[in-house]
């Protein structure tokens, strides 16, 4: 019991922190923090701020014009839909996979464990290439029979959803696993010894405990999905008004010398993802602090 209590939530209160922390030198701490701040600013903060700057530098009117253009509106809708589907699939299978990996032993577990991260390490060019090979209507293993059944994957919405789901697959699993590990199984064991079935235990005991891991994983998955570019570029056909996602629209606008419009959409995408991540991160900390 002592162990699990000490393995605390991130915001272990100030007293515990002060009591346990060996006195670090002030200069050392300032240096460390300075390095971190400078590195992150130079690498991330300033470049991202530039996106917003470039979007708004000609004022608000071009931004609004860009956002009400029907092609752009469709692109944003398509991106949103693909991201939501990706989130739904990856949430369900992500949680299931996390539970299986953490709570059970089975042959091939280590293999699955190692393979789960594969989509994060695969080049988008490879993802696109692989989907084209498989879902090609002429000689794709799955593409040919699907086409015979009237289902077109490539150059259509299913292909976009497929590519998006592929590349963001590990994100939910990776967020849920540490939370699940930390949670421990006493409550689950208690429930099952009281006669609760597997499902009930899962819904009433496990899920509430991991819900913030799930939510954060979902949010990361969503953010990653709306930003996917390379793989979608290959499988979508970039049909304006039909299969052109927001990132593809950014590219096309930028290349047609519509830089402000391009940066506007880029700012919308980046802004949405940043806002969602921030909100969830803040809520998570606050709720976990209240619970501890």
């Amino acid at each position: 019991m002592v162990d699990t209590a000490a393995a605390d939530t991130p915001t272990a209160g100030p007293t515990l922190l002060q009591a346990s922390r060996p006195a670090g030198s002030g200069a050392g701490r300032v240096t460390r923090q300075a390095i971190v701040v400078v590195y992150l600013s130079a690498l991330v903060v300033i470049p991202v701020a530039l996106v917003f700057w470039n979007a708004f530098k000609d004022g608000l009117a071009p931004v609004i014009a860009a956002l009400t253009d029907p092609v752009v509106v469709h692109a944003l809708q398509l991106t949103l839909m693909a991201a939501l589907w990706s989130v739904v699939f990856n949430a369900i299978f992500g949680v299931a996979t996390a539970v299986l990996l953490v709570r059970y032993e089975f042959p091939g577990k280590r293999v699955l464990n190692a393979f789960i991260d594969l989509p994060l390490s695969v080049s988008p060019v490879v993802v696109g290439l692989s989907l084209v090979i498989v879902y090609n209507i002429h000689d794709g293993i799955l593409g040919k029979p699907l086409a015979a059944a009237g289902i077109h994957v490539l150059f259509s919405t299913p292909g976009i959803v497929l590519a998006t789901t592929f590349i963001s697959m590990p994100l939910v699993v990776r967020e849920v696993v540490p939370v699940l590990q930390e949670q421990g199984t006493e409550q689950e064991q208690a429930a099952s010894s009281l006669g609760a079935g597997g499902w009930t235990t899962f819904w009433r005991i496990t899920m509430p405990g991991i819900r913030w891991g799930v939510i954060y994983g979902v949010v990361l998955c969503f953010a990653r999905s709306i930003g996917e570019f390379g793989a979608v570029k290959v499988v979508s056909g970039n049909i304006t008004g039909k299969t052109q996602t927001a990132t593809l629209a950014v590219e096309q606008l930028y290349q047609n010398f519509n830089q402000t419009q391009a940066f506007t959409i880029a700012a919308v995408l980046a802004g949405a993802a940043i806002v969602i991540i921030s909100v969830v991160a803040t809520l998570r900390v606050r709720v976990e602090r209240r619970e501890s």
Binding site: Q33, V36, V37, V122, S123, L129, S130, F166, L269
Partner: protein, 281 residues
């Protein structure tokens, strides 16, 4: 490795035990469905790529990989990713430490900043890195069309991996050993080196491996930044695209298979490293 961190906790579970029962029927079905889903979504397409590559026979592999431009591209990509992984290990651990152990105003903001490279489309990342560090740089730093640009782009997109890998471990770390060391007179540096660091190594290694694998596969941010100069700044993804554009799917698949092999090798190596460390205690 990767997802399930094998650390000291798993070797000797303190509070709860991992259920060592075989799968229940429900879990068994769940596992089956998960594996099927994963196979169709991820494994099948990747296997198809490998199949196309293998179809060209051993000759195909050798011819493609000994092409000087291809070999050079692979070398550049792998070496730069390694260098960036090392950078991330150092800076990422530092960032994780500062975020977890040192409260300072704005740390909440930095938390979000860490995850931004996930959120930004790579093509946009390339655009803004170009704006800030290209020919029209407001601060006079121009790395466009050089190898430094490749390094920069990799560093951007791989930023979160080590931090997010180390952070949860650091948060859960038992402080008693550190407190004991401190009360015995050890300096913070020594405490860190001998007590904290060994506990973090599996997580650091895991994050570094992911950073490497992610760097090796990067494409979008380099489109405008690197210049694609053969033998100098051309990365593997671009080289692959050249093969695809020329209708040479076999060679493209060979290069893709090599990349996949590298990624898998690294992931498995880290898995083995972690197991070894856990066994050592």
């Amino acid at each position: 490795m990767t997802v399930v961190q094998l650390d000291a906790k798993d070797a000797a579970p303190p509070g709860g035990r991992v259920l060592r029962t075989n799968l229940t029927k429900g879990a068994g079905i769940g596992l089956g469905v998960v594996v099927l889903w994963f196979s169709v979504l991820v494994l099948l397409p990747l296997a198809a790529v490998v199949a196309v590559a293998v179809n060209g026979g051993w000759d195909g592999f050798v011819t493609t990989l000994t092409n000087p431009q291809t070999a050079s591209a692979i070398k550049l990509t792998v070496l730069t990713s390694l260098a960036v992984a090392v950078l991330n290990v150092l800076v990422g651990t530092l960032i994780a430490w500062v975020l977890v152990r040192e409260r300072f105003p704005g740390s909440r903001v930095l938390e979000v900043v860490i995850d931004v490279p996930f959120a930004l489309p790579t093509i946009v990342a390339g655009l803004v890195l170009l704006a800030l560090y290209g020919p029209q740089s407001p601060i006079g730093v121009n790395v466009a069309n050089t190898r430094a640009a490749v390094f920069l782009a990799f560093a951007f997109v791989t930023l979160p991996f080590v931090v997010r890998s180390v952070q949860p471990v650091l948060e859960q770390l038992d402080r008693e050993a550190e407190q004991a060391a401190h009360s015995l007179g050890a300096s913070p540096g020594t405490t860190f080196r001998r007590i904290v660091l060994p506990a973090l190594i599996p997580a650091i290694a895991a994050g570094g491996a992911l950073s490497f694998a992610r760097g090796v596969s990067e494409y979008g941010s380099l489109v405008l930044l690197s210049g694609n100069l053969a033998m100098r700044t051309e990365v593997t993804s671009v080289r692959m695209l050249t093969y695809v554009e020329n209708g040479n799917l076999a060679s493209a698949s060979v290069v893709a298979t090599v990349l996949l092999g590298v990624a898998l090798f690294v992931l498995v190596a880290i898995d083995l490293l972690q197991r070894w460390l856990v066994r050592r205690g």
